[in-house]
Amino acid sequence: MRLPDVLRFARDAATGCPMRTTLSVLAMSIGVAAVVILTALGDGARRYVVGQFSSIGTNLVIVLPGRSGTGGFNPANAITTTPRDLTVDDAAALRRASAVSRLAPLTVGTSEISFGGRLREIIVAGSTSDFIPIRNFELAQGRGLPEEDWNRGSSVAVIGSKIREELFGNEPAVGQLIRVGDRRLRIVGVLKPVGQGLGMNTDELVIVPVSLAQAMFNSNTLFRILVEAKSREAIPEAKEQVMDILKQRHRGEEDVTVITQDAVLATFDKLLGALTLGVAGIAAISLAVAGILVMNVMLVAVTQRTGEIGLLKALGATARTILLAFLAEAAMLSTVGAIVGYLLGQLGAFGLRQAFPVFPAYPPDWAVIAGLSTALITGLLFGVMPARRAARLDPVQALMKH
């Protein structure tokens, strides 16, 4: 039998039983769609988190006050119960480190902002001129904090886009005087809207000079020091230098924690990668189930068409021809199922992206390729058994069933 004839014969056989064919195509397409959508979800989660972390800034080394628990029990910690605070002078000292390109101390607190009778709760971030470039923020209007002595903050503020919208509407904000807590500040810049960033909504942020914020909150400690390393390769060196300097300044005690964005990112990447793989495993099971369904459908087809197989043999069909015809049918069912499933999956992922625009639910290429090829392979594999059974049927026995 010629190949085009085999294909046409298989196609006619498949379309001759619409119900059976629809069922197996449906099973296969659900399997493939599951792979596409689930991996899109898993990989989307991974990309979302990675994206959020990278938006903090690049080559970041972050210094937190206090020792993190990972070092185990340290006798020094037991004696000195309160860890030394991080101060602006600590931050200033870090500028000596050779692997550091720039840094920004950060203190955070909540306060109220008022303008023209309107009042609003806000988060105040006290920092320096380098804070905005280190965090990759962009200015929509005006400029950032001025370059000045870190201990002498001028009465200026940079506000988030949402605050500008709520307080000023369509009027210009830059140059206006506002009240934050008990201080009068002049607005020098407005941030571009960026949306949610790791729990801190920058659109509702007011950035002021660090010494001003400390005076406002009546404290001289820092929440974080953000350090930018000179390059990606310099991150470990920067981390070490930062640690050394602070240890020296804190009388030999390692009472700060230094984390690198890279390490956090890698951990999350690994975790979420494992999640995606797990999800892909679940999806693979659904594909195997779909394959078994195709096998059942083909077995039923062989049983239903026993008489026809007998006839074909009487008309001179060899075992190979029958095997080919049934395999071609199984392959067609799984191919169509795989394509329909792929389209369904992409549609589902598209729907997800429409519903959650911040969530990059794109199925990874490897998952799509693996899903499609697993569908085809299981379809063929599970089609072989029924096809062999059909090919081996005894012509007389088969004919009597007609």
Binding site: R2, D5, T15, L312, A314, L315, G316, T318, A319, H402
Partner: protein, 232 residues
């Protein structure tokens, strides 16, 4: 040389504990171009004989020579080739593939044999007009009358120009008039040189054959052509 030569054919079926001898010590020779009717009561071994001649079944003992070649020892694929090229079947219940059109059913043996589409189309067109089915080419079996279905089946059986046509109760599912037409058709084919072997219950139809075989209990009880043997 005889077209068909059976010597010492035995066919035994296992039914539970008992053995059923469907064919016992059968010797038979049929010449090319003969017209043979096989008759006998149910269970006499007619159908088993037909299946053996059509290479759909294998004997337990004995040899079957078709056109001088021992075909019992052939592999299943070689037997399929012999069926494809030398033997045409006509069944009582037509055995048409329901999802294929009349033309596709007629072309099926050629499709299976891998004959090119162009050649298939010319031969199917010739067969359709030869059997008066020109207007039925695109009809499916369920849109055809019984007589038309059997004509399609006969067209299919002859499309590969076989040497031997085996017909199993070809008029069994047809009314008298249509049956008559079908028999005439088969006889025309026989007149053109094809060997025709018909299994039938119908005495009148059996009487039309030039040679009658009567079977009983797996044995040949009567052979009208024993003396006037294989003239061709």
């Amino acid at each position: 040389m005889a077209l068909i030569e059976l010597t010492g054919i035995e066919r035994v079926f296992q039914l539970g504990d008992s053995e059923v001898h469907a064919l016992t010590a059968l010797d038979l020779s049929i010449g090319a171009g003969e017209y043979v009717a096989v008759m006998g009561p149910s269970g006499s071994g007619k159908s088993t004989l037909l299946n053996l001649l059509g290479l759909l079944d294998r004997p337990n003992a004995g040899s079957y020579r078709l056109e001088g070649r021992d075909v019992t020892t052939l592999s299943p694929d070689e037997q399929a080739r012999v069926r494809s090229e030398r033997i045409g079947f006509v069944f009582q219940s037509f055995h048409l593939v329901p999802r294929l059109t009349a033309a596709e059913n007629i072309a099926l043996p050629m499709t299976l044999a891998g004959i090119p589409l162009k050649e298939r189309n010319t031969r199917v067109a010739r067969a359709l007009s030869g059997f008066g089915l020109e207007n039925r080419a695109d009809h499916r079996p369920d849109q055809l009358s019984g007589g038309q279905r059997q004509r399609v089946a006969i067209a299919r059986a002859t499309i590969m120009q076989p040497a031997l046509i085996l017909a199993d109760e070809p008029t069994g599912n047809l009314d008298r008039h249509t049956g008559e037409e079908v028999v005439n058709l088969l006889e025309v084919l026989n007149a053109s040189g094809v060997t025709l072997l018909v299994v039938t219950h119908d005495q009148a139809m059996g009487a039309r054959a030039r040679r009658q075989l009567v079977m009983e209990d797996g044995r040949l009880k009567h052979d009208s052509g024993q003396n006037a043997h294989a003239p061709a």
